[in-house]
């Protein structure tokens, strides 16, 4: 089942984590107390030029040195430290969360058009596929993912999420069927600037995963959500598609609809389906993805999972439930249900 929520302030006005914690707890009926998480953008202004790597170590003494060495081989660790946590009675701390602020050495991948991003992607894939007691859970600039096994309130209190401030937040309340109890399996999933929260199950996972693998992305989290982050990274960052067109590839119109379009539209949509057929995501899902400049929500082609959007001033809300939006912003001015496959996009101004 799972409950998802996201909020963006287009004027980049910051919000602390109090409201989203409450909104997520509003949807406890959709969770099982075995996983929750938050992504926040704008939380590390003092290191805005560094990649903030959030890492789960199984054991700091045993597993950390290898990651340190690898990072130093590819760049410079500007700052690092434990992510502060506060013991909760019902939450067993099975990982030690750590953060690095990292600057990759561009010259080491100078042939690439985006050397820094490619180095960090490479490192994330490398560390996560090695299975050596370290898991990178977020890797963007000036943002971070905080997640664990537990109810949303417990996870929030464990990290004191209310102490972080940002202009864009995502939250996820999990009802796991795949990897219960595993912190890595909780959402949001992240790669570079992209974070994803997802409610549903992707029946085309095998196809998507094999497609993305031939572009060097390796799915390591044993769940279907990470493939969404990689697909979007490929389509938007590497192939340069406008976000709306990327969603068109992931949840395209039916052929009947395409056949009925005008010449220009039809050509475009046919080309997208032909070229990106293996990226099409099937099965029931509602997804909210974000990067530092925008947040976007969309569902599968026949809307088998709920998704509601709401607006209040500069803020756009997207969630599984209207109640959660109202919990965050009782004065919400407008709410609506986006159509199947139709993205709702909010961008920061300027």
């Amino acid at each position: 089942m799972c409950g998802i929520i996201g909020v963006i302030d287009r004027g980049r006005k910051e919000m602390d984590g109090t409201q989203i914690r409450r909104a997520l707890a509003q949807m406890n009926e959709r969770g099982s107390g075995e996983g929750a998480g938050y992504a926040v953008y704008g939380c590390y202004p003092e290191y805005r030029d560094c990649y903030a790597l959030h890492v789960f170590f199984d054991n700091i003494h045993e597993n950390k040195k290898e990651v340190d060495d690898l990072l130093e081989q590819w760049g410079r660790i500007v700052h690092e430290g434990q992510i502060p946590t506060y013991d909760q009675p019902n939450l067993r701390k099975i990982h030690a969360p750590w953060r690095y602020f990292f600057k990759p050495d561009r010259s080491l991948m100078s042939w690439s058009p985006s050397p820094e991003d490619d180095i960090v992607t490479h490192l994330v894939m490398r560390i996560n596929t090695d299975h050596r007691g370290a898991l990178v859970i977020s890797s963007g600039k000036n943002m971070g993912v905080f997640k664990a096994s537990g109810w949303p309130e417990e996870v929030a209190d464990f990290y004191r999420i209310q102490d972080y401030r940002g202009y864009l937040w995502l939250g996820h309340n999990r009802y796991p069927t795949n990897t219960p109890g595993w912190w890595g399996g909780a959402h949001p999933f992240n790669l570079l600037g992209w974070s994803v929260v997802h409610n549903g199950e992707i029946t085309s996972y095998g196809t998507n995963q094999r497609f993305i693998r031939s572009y060097g992305y390796h799915c390591t989290m044993f769940t279907d959500t990470e493939v969404v982050a990689y697909l979007i990274d490929l389509l938007v960052r590497k192939h340069g598609l406008p976000e709306k067109m990327a969603v068109r590839a992931l949840a395209p119109p039916f052929w009947d609809e395409i056949d009925a379009m005008g010449e220009r539209e039809r050509k475009l949509n046919t080309a997208i389906r032909l070229t990106y057929g293996p990226a099409l995501m099937n099965g029931p899902f509602a997804i909210v993805v974000a990067n530092p400049t925008m947040m976007m929500g969309f569902t599968d082609r026949i809307k088998l999972r709920p998704l509601v959007a709401g607006e209040c001033g500069d803020r756009l809300y997207i969630s599984s439930e209207e109640a959660a939006i109202r919990r965050m912003e009782p004065g919400v001015e407008r709410t609506w249900m986006p159509r199947a496959g139709e993205p709702v996009i909010g961008r920061v101004n300027g």
Binding site: T203, F211, L241, K267, I272, G277, L280
Partner: protein, 503 residues
């Protein structure tokens, strides 16, 4: 040793209480099994091929047929098959010919793969209520799109797409030439392809005028004999297929005996009446992958880059690397023909012992193309041994874009898989050119039967997809997660990249 020393393969018997001496069987059996003998029918079982024509036509259900009525002393190593082959070769000193597909005792991998269905966490989709998309495009696809973004809804497609074949169902009818099969049979298949929105192959036999009305549904074949190939032929087809090899007989050519080359066949093949049509093993202008690349280009140039060009190879040990080479040429699709593929006639030793099964070939070709990052740029067609809709679903889940069906389409027209196509006396009017026999096959009726089969499989395929929570064929393609192997060994599971049941 006399001919009579091997026992007959079949015993035909007539129930005299039922028989009303109508002599229908005498008319129907082209092999001369029946004869009227005074007030009773006499039977020469030795001539029988088990084609079932007499049984299907007898108005009184009076005819019975038994296989292997005479036992040999059983022996696990010296089977009936090997003993009889030796008798045959001792007598003739020749290569043994056989029809239809591989009859070796190999497990069918398809039968050891099971499909997935949804329960609770993801809902199944009901194809009766929700759209189910099976439309498939075969041809080259770009590796990425370039879209110019003018802001807002103003986006413009910059990439030009190359022509693709648009199939309404991922099933096509395989190449069977006029010559190998009758014109009525080919006509029925062509009409069925047109009616179901798919395509069929011409085989290496040229394109008969009677098929011209369906030419936009035909994939014209260019094989090593180049029979029937001219610019008119190439331009008429919807696509062109270069045949390098065939699953039933990898590595060897083809041979249409002169007796089958009647006036009409001679015209479409462009060879003299009564001459043997021999297709050599290799194309005499293809001795390397570069040569193939040039042929693909020449065909493309000749047809002004308007037609997709397919390349068909037999499934052999190294198919994956060969397919990767083909994908690098301008070819639009690679067709892989597994060792169960049917044929009119092939040396038995090839039919039963050379090549690999289509399941393994598709899996390894798909994987190799993915490793090289070129899978989605070229289409992959599986052929050879597809017997039912579940096989289609499994072939697609293993990585195929579409499949070719050959034998199944013939069976829909009455073929009983008797395996005697090479005699040219097919009692069902399929693998024959004898007029009285071809007249038995009515294209109006049989085209409908074939179309029904394609439609039925298409419906079953949509049900299978719906149950798996998938509403578009793209999401089944290469989705090996939705397959599990049942009693397959670890080695095969690794090649297929499929988990065992329960995992």
């Amino acid at each position: 040793m006399t001919i009579g020393s091997t026992p007959p393969r079949y015993r035909v018997s007539i129930d005299r209480d039922q028989c009303m001496l109508c002599e229908r069987c005498v008319e129907e059996c082209p092999y001369g099994v029946f004869r009227r003998n005074g007030e009773r029918m006499s039977v020469n079982s030795r001539q029988c091929t088990a084609c079932h024509r007499c049984i299907a036509m007898c108005p009184r259900d009076a005819i019975n047929l038994e296989e292997q009525p005479v036992d040999y002393r059983s022996h696990p190593v010296w089977t009936r098959k090997v003993r009889e082959a030796i008798y045959n070769q001792a007598r003739t000193g020749r290569i043994i010919l056989a029809g239809m597909g591989n009859a070796g005792d190999y497990p069918v991998i398809f039968d050891r793969l099971v499909l997935d269905a949804c329960q609770v966490t993801n809902p199944a989709i009901d194809p009766l209520r929700e759209p189910m998309e099976l439309r498939t495009y075969l041809g080259k696809k770009p590796s990425r799109l370039e879209i110019r973004n003018g802001g807002g809804d103003d986006v413009e497609l910059v990439t030009e797409l190359t022509p693709n074949l648009q199939l309404e169902t991922p099933l096509m009818i395989a190449h069977m030439s006029y010559g190998a099969i009758s014109l009525n049979a080919q006509l029925s298949l062509a009409r069925a392809a047109a009616a179901t929105g798919t395509f069929m192959g011409t085989g290496e036999g040229g394109l008969h005028q009677a098929i011209y009305p369906y030419q936009d549904r035909m994939i014209v074949q260019v094989a090593s004999g180049r029979f029937g190939v001219d610019i008119n032929y190439l331009e008429r087809g919807a696509a062109i297929e270069i045949k390098i090899g065939q699953g039933a007989k990898p590595g060897i050519g083809g041979h249409l005996p002169g007796e089958k080359v009647c006036e009409d066949v001679s015209c479409t093949r462009m060879i003299p009446v009564g001459s043997d049509a021999i297709s050599p093993a290799p194309h005499h202008d293809i001795y390397s992958i570069e040569d193939l690349k040039q042929l693909v280009r020449s065909l493309k140039e000749a047809t002004e880059w308007k037609k997709p060009v397919f390349v068909k190879i037999a499934a052999v040990h190294n198919s994956a690397a060969i397919a990767a080479g083909i994908a690098r040429s301008s070819a639009d699709a690679v067709v892989v023909d597994g060792f169960r593929g049917g044929t009119g006639a092939a040396p038995r030793v090839f039919r039963d012992h050379v090549g690999i099964p289509i399941e393994a070939a598709i899996a390894s070709v798909d994987e190799k193309l993915r490793q090289q990052g070129i899978r989605n740029q070229v289409s992959l067609v599986a052929s050879g041994g597809i017997r039912e809709s579940a096989d289609v679903a499994k072939a697609i889940a293993l990585g195929a874009d579409a499949v070719y069906i050959g034998t199944a389409a013939l069976v829909a027209m009455g073929c009983r898989v008797c395996g005697t196509c090479y005699r040219g006396l097919c009692p069902w009017g399929i693998a024959t050119q004898r007029e009285d026999l071809t007249a038995r096959l009515d294209p109006d009726v049989e085209s409908e039967h074939v179309a029904n089969l394609i439609q039925a499989w298409t419906l079953e395929l949509s049900e299978l997809m719906g149950a798996a929570g998938i509403n578009s064929i793209e999401s089944l393609r290469g989705n090996r997660d939705r397959l599990r192997g049942y009693l397959l060994d670890e080695g095969i599971l690794r090649v297929l990249d499929v988990k065992p049941v329960g995992a």
